[in-house]
Subunit: 144 residues, 2 copies
């Protein structure tokens, strides 16, 4: 049996390498990959609860919590308790959290180009579609 030709195996290698690549390139601007993914979600809309961010990112609450602690230490977000529900917290961007977006955008575009460098425009589109299907499977089915 040839494990190495399965999509699962191929995807495993690409997944690890991609994460590692992101970590290295984003580290250049002082951020970690998990933090950036989180910021992207907050730039869409902040003030949400941790559990909502977890659902949106398809990541477990403890991981969200840890990532946010790092962002708070970095001064990018705040974790506020609101009176309507003492259990939950609300995550808000600080001015720094808003401001860093510009730097991240520039870096992100560079990264995107690096990765897609050898793909034609048509291939990029197809890759996006196929990845979207996989994402839909995982994000939809995962929780079981």
């Amino acid at each position: 049996m040839k494990f190495h030709s399965t999509v699962s195996h191929l995807l495993s290698g690409v997944a690890t390498a991609h994460k590692s690549h992101l970590e290295r390139r984003l580290g250049e601007i002082g951020l970690h990959s998990g933090q950036v993914l989180m910021l992207m979600e907050l730039w869409k809309r902040d003030g949400r609860r941790q559990v909502d961010l977890a659902a949106e990112l398809n990541i477990a609450p403890p991981t969200i919590n840890k990532t946010l602690t790092g962002l708070i230490d970095g001064g990018y977000v705040t974790r506020d308790r609101v009176e309507d529900d003492a259990r939950s917290t609300r995550i808000f961007l600080t001015p720094e959290g808003v401001a860093v977006r510009e730097k991240v955008e520039a870096q992100w575009l560079e990264i995107e180009e690096e990765i897609l460098g050898e793909l034609t425009e048509a291939e990029r589109l197809i890759l996006s579609e196929l990845l979207s299907k996989l994402k839909h499977f995982y994000f939809g089915t995962e929780p079981e």
Copy 2:
């Protein structure tokens, strides 16, 4: 700027979910994803040095070392020093390491089908090709 439509972002989500999915499904047969990837490499050819396995898997030596320690604890491989070079070690499969292959194959095929369930045969091929290109980019360029 729409981060969420970039391939990097899409791939990040899929990468995390895929790893997580593998971990859960492989955990059912008592193995971790990193261990299985390592075993697959050893089933191709064992007796290699850690640094060679690291290069083949595109993973840093300390990570290889940790994964192997787990496999040794599980009784799947041995780490032997050979006389020709006292710096390096050679990694060999134990009978258990050879035997577990059958179980992993069955599980791996199931996982593969789960993931590809909603893709047509043509899409699977295209996805393989595109992932191979990405892998080639990462595995080739990464070390820099």
